[in-house]
Amino acid sequence: MKVFTHFSFLGFSNSYLVGPPDGGDAILIDPGVMDIPLLRLIEGNGYFVRHVLITHNHESHIRGGRTLLKIYNAEVYGSSLNLLEQDSRPLKDGETLALNGIEVECIEVQGHSSDSLVYRIGSCFFTGDVLSAGGIGSTPNRYAQALLIHAIKDKLLSYERGVIYPGHGPPSTLQIERRFNPFLL
């Protein structure tokens, strides 16, 4: 399985394209923008976007979704019944999806937003705004921050190892965040 990163200058956010090494049906996580470079990334690698996973319903992570769906007839997954102005498949904490041979585990991590999901595909964690390199998602108050930190430690750092692909900023690993994330020390 391969993972490609695409950056949106509109919301300074990352989108991720996940698919088999030789092309075929692919998953797009957080379509922050739909632009020519993303289209070239998808088509140039022989992919067709069949599934769109939304980590959370903030504009910087979904802004390009409506345009993407005009090009690719993809199924949308996230926390609620309606995402990107169409019916979507709501997901629950711990639910596992089998998307064209790619297994996706959904992990609910609240605190940054009530609808935040982290998607685990193999040893890769797509964390949205929940966890980033050296940081955590913004929260409205101290209680929510404590809730978020607890959830990250309980649900993500309980895995021994894994690569983190955040919604903003550079990639990281669980091992690195245990050692160098000031909010989790």
Partner: protein, 200 residues
């Protein structure tokens, strides 16, 4: 990143194999021969993808203008190696050590150098974007004339480091310790130095 990893041939060993071998770093039957095979391959090719060469030690390797995509060098050691004008994308160098290495004119994106030690390295004139240097220990480094957009140096320790005439927009220096670090002519007002609030 390619997540397909083969497991070591040694019974009950769960570790991933090194490239050009069926064994992990702990169970290599002939480490010297393997190192030589790796060196030959790195010299013979200029485009490298999906390599897994963690914990290996490389000395005086010339990798100028090479391209690395989705490679893993976790814990590797590089001494006096030349990476000038190379491209690295989606590579993992966490916990590695670099001594007197040259990276000038490089293009490095979406890579991880967290927990790495750098001594006497030159990164001048490079594009180093969306790259994780958290927890890095760096001394006598030169990042001058580089674009460091959205890279991160959280909890890093920097001594005698030049960031002269750099693009530091969205660069994260939260909780970094800096001694004799020069930001002259750079837009350090667009970097992040305070940890009062989460950044996202």
């Amino acid at each position: 990143m390619d997540t397909n990893e083969s497991i070591c041939r040694n019974p009950e060993c769960p570790q991933s194999v090194l490239s050009f071998s069926s064994y992990c770093a702990d169970h290599l039957p002939d480490p010297e021969a393997h190192l030589e095979k790796v060196r030959e391959n790195l010299k013979a090719e200029t485009v490298h993808a999906d390599l897994s060469l963690g914990t290996m030690v490389f000395t005086s390797l010339n990798l100028e203008r090479h391209s690395f995509t989705d490679c893993n060098f976790d814990g590797a050691v590089f001494k006096a190696c030349n990476f000038e004008k190379s491209m690295m994308r989606g590579c993992f160098f966490q916990n590695a050590r670099f001594e007197e290495c040259r990276f000038s004119g490089c293009e490095i994106k979406y890579s991880v150098f967290a927990g790495t030690s750098f001594t006497g390295c030159d990164f001048s004139g490079s594009d180093i974007m969306h790259t994780n240097f958290n927890g890095m220990e760096g001394s006598d480094l030169d990042f001058s004339d580089s674009d460091l957009y959205y890279s991160s140096f959280v909890l890093s320790r920097l001594k005698n480091v030049c960031f002269i005439d750099c693009n530091l927009k969205k660069v994260n220096y939260v909780k970094s310790r800096r001694e004799n670090v020069n930001f002259k002519y750079s837009n350090y007002e667009e970097a992040v130095f305070s940890a009062e609030e989460p950044q996202v």
